[in-house]
């Protein structure tokens, strides 16, 4: 039995607890027992989470090997789909449901809810056991009927055909409780544990643990050590909450919470304006994307029957083929706009390089391995919606696949012109995120998710390696002040090299396997159409990735040291995480080893384990094709990568033969400036949109407020007073006097009147009220007359 799988909420809860502990006691602990005491709260918590996630992964593997059947399976399915169908029908919305589901109970429910008294009168209800409890309370009705439907359908649900490739349908483990209710619909908060989320738990907790340890040294004696560890815990909690979400609304919550942690950590050294600017940019750019996410969540909610945000329910609806395809497309594209910002896709990727202003371990954890893949995870999680909305299975190009491919290229190109090591890695991350998005876009689900998995390890290794280098070189990331570090930092050098090769995609390191699957996915396509353009873009990027990484590697570790002082190797607390990650970068690709290259044609034994355990079989496109391993493609990409690496290294080893070309050749200069200005996107957003559209609009709005609207108000006041003065002069009468003063107060002399009022001349105020009363009386009479 899945004794842990339905209690996975414990993980984010532990990290949230850790956050609160550090928040309230961290400073005191630090003052009394030193930094380690504070950090140990976070480290212990994340270590526990890591161990738990190992257990969880093991249990999930057990579950896939021995999936529950019969009543257990039906119960699991009901738990995962939530009370949504029932609620939807209550709203009178036509909702697709697998035919086997107990229609009768739904019909009965609909009636039962509206006419509470006449409930027992109609006998259409087959599963009468649940019905008896439903009618008293509106709120409880959907839940109770959900249970009765579950009881009614075991045999039917179990009879559903098993999914493709001989996988049996394995239902995720879901748990939920009511979050809030509105319009008699129960909206739930819950957890989902399947291969995808188990994989994410493992990745997030492992890298977070390593980063927690690494930061002990890296943030040693930092001004805000406590603050840093508190945010790390909060981030881990939010990220775990996000990946375990059972519905899109909950994902939106986790999504923004990781965003705010990112904001806080980018702005960690907030004394400098540049850092806070970067933090603001990250948050605001993500907010721009969030509008898409919000709209996508809303549209999807209504498109699937206005009943539930549940991810499986929505995927199932989207795959049913009975929804309005235009709405589904809008929903998918809107969601993708959110992905665009969070996962650094063109044109909203501009925040990610700036986010490097934060401490380097944060860059490794948040801006490379975990948070930025939240968007990729969203596509993977809501794959039914993207599959249905974009018709991935029946296309050779669409927006998501194209943007993914385009992003890989524009990110890769910019990585060439960076002098800052971290920025090279940042643009590389953008490029690799594009790869993942492209993979999901071409239908290569497992390839995309697998790349997310492998990338997390080698990119974290690279970032932490860069941090180690900077630790040694007086906190600079400028590669012009590095060089020759191979001699001084053997461990950092070796691990960085391994990760570089893994990222470049050289056999048999991790990146090779996942990259190759993506390319194969694009070449194979879905149905009879290949995603040829994406294949070409992917191959170009394979070459570029190797080349810019070769450049970065050479400039940092080869040649002669160009900085000042003597660099030194970092202590063990830094190098051990590097080695762990390097080992992963070496071997982790084998978890999805394509069996038939050594002759084992079927999926038995050790082949395609990642796919077997991670790719969903529930509420997932059944006609999705998984591309076979292609020798020619693997060979081609390997040649391209090797060539790229050789050029990247060789160019600098030969003393940069083309150096100065940008000065000599105007065309080259234009190109270089274009790249240096990052395609002028920042200029467009900052000067083009913010400074020339939004801020002038803001000033105009405020001018309108002060001059026009308030002008009218003040003008009315002055006019009333003038009118009053005239009236007073010619119609000298007590009552009118009071009223006039009252309405004329806004003029310059009003202060005097007010002072009199406030110093006790209440009679005038009384007169004012009396005047108002007279007007009211007149209106009374008037309305009476109208009525008569």
């Amino acid at each position: 039995m899945p004794y842990l799988l339905d209690k996975v909420w414990i993980l984010p809860a532990i990290m949230a607890g850790s956050f609160l502990l550090i928040l309230f006691f961290g400073k005191k602990l630090l003052a009394r027992f030193g930094e380690k005491a504070t950090a140990s709260i976070g480290i212990a918590s994340i270590a526990v989470c890591f161990i738990l996630s190992l257990f969880i992964a093991g249990q999930w593997i057990q579950r896939v090997n021995h999936p529950p059947t019969g009543a257990d399976m039906a119960a699991a399915e009901e738990a995962c789909l939530g009370p949504s169908e029932v609620a939807a029908e209550e709203m009178g919305v036509e909702v697709y449901a697998p035919a086997e589901h107990g229609e009768a109970s739904h019909g009965a429910e609909t009636e039962g809810d509206h006419s509470t008294e006449a409930d027992d009168g109609h006998g259409t209800s087959e599963p009468a056991d649940g019905e008896a409890t439903t009618s008293d309370e509106h709120g409880a009705a959907p839940m109770a009927t959900g249970e009765s439907a579950a009881a009614a359908t075991p045999t039917a649900a179990a009879a559903e055909p098993a999914a493709e490739e001989g996988h049996e349908e394995v239902i995720p483990v879901c748990a939920s409780m009511t979050w809030f209710e509105s319009d008699h619909i129960d909206f739930e908060v819950g957890t989902v544990l399947d291969g995808l989320s188990a994989m994410m738990l493992f990745t997030v907790t492992m890298i977070s643990l390593l980063v927690h340890l690494y930061s002990l040294e890296y943030l040693h004696k930092d001004v805000r050590f406590t603050h840093y560890y508190a945010f790390l815990s909060l981030f881990s909690a939010s990220m775990l909450f996000y990946v375990l979400s059972s519905n899109t609304l909950q994902m939106l919550v986790g999504w923004e919470l990781v965003g705010v942690c990112s904001f806080g950590l980018i702005g960690h050294w907030w004394e400098q304006r540049a850092n806070t600017d970067a933090a603001l940019k990250a948050f605001l750019t993500n907010r721009v994307g969030d509008t898409g996410l919000i709209i996508g969540v809303v549209v999807l909610f209504f498109a699937t029957g206005a009943a539930s945000f549940n991810v499986f329910f929505q995927n199932q609806q989207a795959l049913s083929g009975e929804l309005n395809t235009t709405l589904l497309l809008i929903a998918a594209l809107a969601l993708f706009w959110g992905v665009t910002s969070k996962s650094g896709q063109f044109p909203l990727h501009t925040w990610l390089p700036d986010a490097m202003a934060g401490p380097t371990p944060v860059s490794a954890l948040i801006h490379a391995a975990t948070m930025v893949v939240a968007g990729v995870y969203l596509i993977a999680r809501m794959y039914g919606v993207f599959w249905g909305g974009l018709e991935i299975g029946d296309s050779s190009i669409h927006y998501v696949a194209f943007i993914g491919g385009f992003t890989t290229i524009i990110g890769g190109i910019l990585a060439f012109v960076q002098q800052d090591l971290k920025k090279v890695l940042a643009y590389s991350t953008i490029s690799q995120l594009g790869y993942m998005v492209m993979a999901l876009g071409v239908g290569a689900w497992t390839a995309g998710v697998f790349h997310l998995f492998t990338h997390a390890f080698f990119k974290a290794c690279l970032f932490l390696g860069a941090g180690s280098v900077s630790h040694a070189c007086h906190h600079t990331f400028d590669m012009r002040e590095m060089g020759g570090l191979r001699k001084y930092m053997p461990s950092t050098h070796k691990t960085f090299l391994i990760a570089t090769i893994a990222l470049a995609g050289i056999f048999p390191f991790a990146g090779f396997w996942s990259k190759d699957e993506i390319l194969a996915g694009a070449a194979n396509g879905q149905g009879d159409k290949a995603y040829t353009l994406m294949l070409v873009m992917g191959l170009i990027t394979a070459f570029m990735t190797a080349a810019y990484m070769g450049r970065a590697y050479y400039k940092t570790f080869r040649g002669e040291y160009r900085g000042h002082g003597t660099p030194h190797e970092s202590p063990k607390i830094i190098t051990i995480p590097l080695w762990i990650l390097a080992v992963f970068a070496t071997v982790i690709g084998l978890v999805n080893f394509p069996g038939h290259i050594i002759g084992a044609v079927d999926d038995a034994g050790l082949a395609h384990r990642f796919e077997h355990y991670v790719q969903p079989t529930f509420a997932f496109p059944t006609d999705l094709e998984v591309a076979p391993f292609m020798y020619w493609l693997a060979g081609l990409s390997l040649v391209l990568a090797g060539f790229g690496l050789a050029i990247g290294i060789g160019y600098f080893a030969k003393g940069e033969p083309l150096k100065g070309m940008t000065e000599r050749n105007p065309l080259a200069r234009i190109g270089y400036v274009f790249l240096e200005k990052k395609y002028y996107l920042d200029a467009l957003y900052e000067s083009g949109i913010r400074d020339t559209v939004v801020m002038p609009l803001a000033r105009a709005a405020y001018w309108f407020n002060m001059k026009v609207l308030d002008g009218i108000v003040n003008g009315l006041g002055v006019a009333a007073r003038k009118f009053g003065t005239v009236l007073y002069r010619y119609v000298d009468q007590g009552v009118v006097d009071g009223a006039v003063n009252g309405t004329g107060l806004v003029s310059e002399e009003s202060g005097q009147f007010l002072r009199r009022l406030q110093t006790g001349k209440v009679q005038q105020y009384g007169a004012l009220l009396f005047g108002a009363a007279v007007i009211l009386a007149a209106i009374f009479v008037l309305t009476n007359a109208i009525n008569a």
């Binding site: 509105s182 319009d183 004394e271 304006r273 948050f283 605001l284 919000i294 609207l709 009003s750 007010l754």
Partner: protein
Amino acid sequence: MDFTSGQFWTSPITYMVFVPVVGALVMLLVPKANETAHKVLALVTSLVTAAIGISILTAFNYDSAGELQGVVDTDWIPFINANWIVGVDGISLPMIALTLLIVPLCVVYSWDHIPSPGNAKAFLILILVLDTGMLGSFVAQDLILFFVFFEVVLLPMYFMIGVWGGENRQYASIKFFLYTLFGSALMIVAFISLYFLSGAETFSMIELPGLAQSITHGWQLVIFGGMLIGFGIKVPMFPVHTWLPDAHTQAPTVGSVILAAVLLKLGTYGFIRIAIPILPEAARSYQWLIGLLAVIGIIYGALCCLAQTDMKRLIAFSSVAHMGYVMLAIATLTTFGINAAIFGMVAHGLITGMLFFVAGSTKERYHTLEIKRLGGLLKQAPRMGWILGLATMASLGLPGLAGFWGEFPAILSAYDPTNADYSTGFFGVSNLVLFRVFMVVAAIGTVFAAGYLLFLFQRVAFGVPSEEFEHEPIPDVNRFEWIAWVPMLVLIVVLGVYPNLIFSVTDSTVAPMMQLAAGG
């Protein structure tokens, strides 16, 4: 009122409403010089009020939150058939709870923050009178009774701004007073018209929803129009919002907090409680206009925020934007929408109230709120800086904090308004299309909100203190501030994590009400 009515004397609602005034009367007898006595008296009074209120909230039967509970109905002014009708249901309950919470906190905050020119006695008495007015407005089920309490609120706030306000207090207070009085005049006319035109000759809010249907559509439109302006001023809705920035900026801290937390809600509450249930048909005709003004308010308020140089004025304008979300939700005339609106009202009350508290304390320490001169609050008073951070994050609608549950459901509800096929006066576009455009605009509004709030936070809290304050000792959050702020901060987080605390209460009242409103 009929003082012989046992019903009146045994109802806890009576005591909840009038205890503050009694407390204020007692305070009148105590000499002005004894400030501590006044503070203690005011605190005790507000706490007793809160205790009575809590007893009402605990006695409330949440399983039938849809019904009006604890109803008292006795003669009051028989001459015009105005009765003392009070009661509590799922709509008024959150507002009452909010008022019961805010007032004692304001009294605590005032302990060492009596604004210049002093006079704790008068200041605290005004707060207590406000308490009665606000609570009375939220329990009243008779239009005249509501109107009277609504007006009771007006005067203390007027004096609060006019006497204890900032430099430009006289202009601001008069503007506040006249604007609101203008709205009140339209409101009372609308009420009186209902009285006569419905032919029922009653002011009972319980009976009128059924009876007002006999009014001709044309007159319904006129009456609703009056309420629209009357309540709209109080909300405030664009373009009748211009009293708000001045009143907020000039009011003393506690005044701003009460204004933002409770007074603005009287307007939206009026829509939900009075205008829409009584005149649903007219509401459907005005639906698109309210929605339009709401989204204009969202964008316009945000743009004005971006142009501000003063912290308090920026927060004031942000109210225009945030109340825009509430009005948009109301305009959808759906259960989703009204639930979202009520949540948004409570959330805005807590969050903007909190922001004004911090702004007040910042002003007290730096003697300026000019954003340009501030900076490095996190360095000088880190706790206050982080509290500001939490409040700004909540205000920009960060999920997990209360603001999100007003904002997101409002956007959600705009996708599918009631009366979707209705062809509006707006180039004949259907409600459905129009509100979907509103939805997108409202979603874009969240970007602006993040823009101005983070700008504020960056300039005020991040960075290093400017030269003029570099060596000035800036004390961090003090005892009274902690007591006043912690409950609000906790609620902002708790409501954000578990929104059902409010939704479950409002939903059962709103759902049947909107079914009626949508059905007619």
